[in-house]
Amino acid sequence: MGRIKTVLTLVLIFFTLVVFSQQKDSVKVRLNHYTLTIGPGWTHYIDNMDYGVQKIRKDFAGVSFRFLWEPEHRLSLGLETGYYKLFRVTNQLNADTSVHIDRVVVPMLLFVRMRIVDHVYLGAGLGLAIITNKAAGAGQEIATKTTSFANFEFSGAYVYPLSKHWNVGGEFKMFHFGALDDWMYSIQATCAVRL
């Protein structure tokens, strides 16, 4: 028992040293910081529907928000959300009646980003998404919500620092929402503030 305690103490000391050795003196240059990014842009739904579509609109405006912890290393970690309209399907039930079906998704992803070369980053996200389906027409509106548990995102970004606190850039993102097998990509202009 005593030996286990000794080993555990040594392991704890080792990891503590490793963690603290990664942090540099933050008095002169604060490398370990947080950023908040907003990314409005254009989204495109990749239509893989087998049935039930007469007319579909696949391009919309969307927006993302990302909060990142950026230590002085290549990897950053954070949370990302957003609001994307995937499609609007318009189907004619008969000569007088048409139905509009809209699908909107709000992802909530754990996001990891890595600097590849200066200003260029690759990222990946994994997490939940709330998918809202709205069918309207023939005098009624039906809204349903689906929670999707298996969703991912891949992204590539170029970030240009304007000042010590502000960055701008562009980002390409590809999403997959597992519950309903929806794919979309988005090209966004990003603006980040260093907190």
Partner: protein, 416 residues
């Protein structure tokens, strides 16, 4: 850089490799089928062909014994490990041709199969219906894709026992006869499945009624529209939130069929099948007062079609909510019901059928009590060959609900 690209390509392949196909393809027996040249066998010949066969060649794959049983559209060969043959048969002169495919119900293995009963090996007897000759079914099966090249020979061993012939045992197919996860060529809870399931050996079905927002009962298992049950389309979420018109216009089941209304299902069963049992596994209590009149009307339709004694349509009661809804219906004691709850609930409802979960055991004393009271007892949902054998040999149930009806068929028809 090249290595990175190869790694990326490998990851993509791995990712897409996880997407399963929805169906095990039905093997073709060749460019030209001999069956188009044959004539249908008369009913007496079909009865002669039925029975237990010894597998004399091919037993390493299909076991030592095979049950051969006719259904409404063809003939089923079933063995004890889930491998089964879905075949058609006809005769040309005195030779009986049997053609179709085999499938392993517990895996994706499948292959074409072509067999004959020669003139001197039972063909003449079968075609004339006199039954004097020993029947030997010879032919070949394909191990995978391609033409049949593996020998399969089966020799008639005995007819079905009197116990089997005199029993009114129900082989009930789950979700209208089979699940999507078993990768059948038709969708679960569809009219196509009801048409297909008799080929798997079922004599009855369980279906899952729900209610659309405009109060039309339809058949669908899950509470939501999802890509497990449906082709990908624009509707999603709670299936009962949509009107019947929206569901029938914008949703297709995984193999392209429409979601059937309960009315369509009941009419189809009564008019176009030989099924003897329909188990309406109620998914919502709200649907009870709407479905009971439809159920009674379908039973009347069966009576008008001279099927009254051979078709039982029961409302399944899986929960106290549904139980209370049935108890609130005027004259509920005259509504044919199947109660999954306690025997006291069965008595209170005057249910025709008691249906306990299979994990509760054979419960022979309670089953016997129910049968002594003039009721039936069926058990749900039992899939493992070992348990199916045990329940058929040691239990007293009048039927089993299963996803593997051909396994139940084997263990039922082979009983001595």
């Amino acid at each position: 850089m090249k290595t990175r690209i190869l790694h990326m390509a490998g990851l993509m392949l791995l990712f897409y490799g996880c997407n399963k196909d929805n169906v095990v393809p039905v093997p073709a027996t060749g460019p030209v089928s001999v069956m188009t040249e044959t004539y249908p066998l008369p009913p007496a010949s079909k009865l002669l062909l039925e029975g237990v066969y010894r597998v004399t060649s091919g037993s390493d794959k299909f076991g030592d014994l095979m049950v051969v049983k006719w259904n409404r559209t063809g003939v089923l060969f079933a063995n004890n490990n889930g491998k089964h043959f879905i075949m058609e048969a006809g005769h040309l002169d005195s030779v009986v041709f049997i053609q179709g495919y085999w499938r392993d119900g517990y895996s994706d293995a499948t292959g074409a199969c072509t067999m004959i009963v020669g003139r001197s090996e039972g063909g003449t007897s079968l075609v004339t219906g006199n039954g004097a000759q020993q029947i030997i079914i010879r032919g070949a099966y394909a191990k995978e894709s391609g033409l049949p090249d593996q020998t399969l020979t089966m020799e008639y061993l005995r007819p079905f026992s009197d116990k089997v012939k005199n029993s009114n045992f129900y082989i009930l197919g789950h979700r209208a006869g089979g699940r999507n996860s078993d990768r059948l060529p038709v969708s679960e809870n569809s009219l196509a499945m009801i048409k297909y399931t008799e080929r798997l050996g079922t004599t009855g079905i369980e279906v899952d009624p729900r209610l659309s927002s405009d109060k039309i009962p339809f058949i669908y298992h899950d509470p939501d529209i999802n890509i497990r049950l449906t082709q990908k389309g624009p509707l999603a979420g709670d299936v009962s939130a949509y009107t019947w018109r929206q569901l029938s216009s914008f949703v297709r089941l995984i193999h392209g069929e429409k979601i059937p209304s309960l009315q369509e299902v009941l009419n189809y069963v009564v008019d176009s099948t030989s099924l003897r049992f329909v188990y309406l596994d109620m998914k919502t209590a709200e649907a009870v007062p709407i479905i009971i009149p439809m159920q009674l009307k379908a039973l009347q339709r069966a009576k008008d079609n001279h099927r009254k004694d051979s078709l039982l349509i029961v409302m399944g009661i899986p929960s106290t909510e549904v139980l209370n809804a049935v108890l609130a219906y005027p004259g509920y004691q005259n509504v044919p019901t199947l109660c999954e709850l306690t025997v006291d609930d069965v008595r209170q409802l005057n249910s025709k059928v008691w249906a306990p979960r299979w994990t509760l055991g054979t419960q022979n004393d309670l089953v016997q009590q129910m049968q002594n009271e003039g009721r039936l007892a069926v058990c749900w949902t039992i899939d493992s060959p070992g348990w199916i054998e045990t329940y058929l040999n040691d239990g007293l149930f009048n039927g089993l609900l299963t996803n593997y009806p051909y396994v139940v068929a084997y263990y039922h028809y082979i009983q001595e």
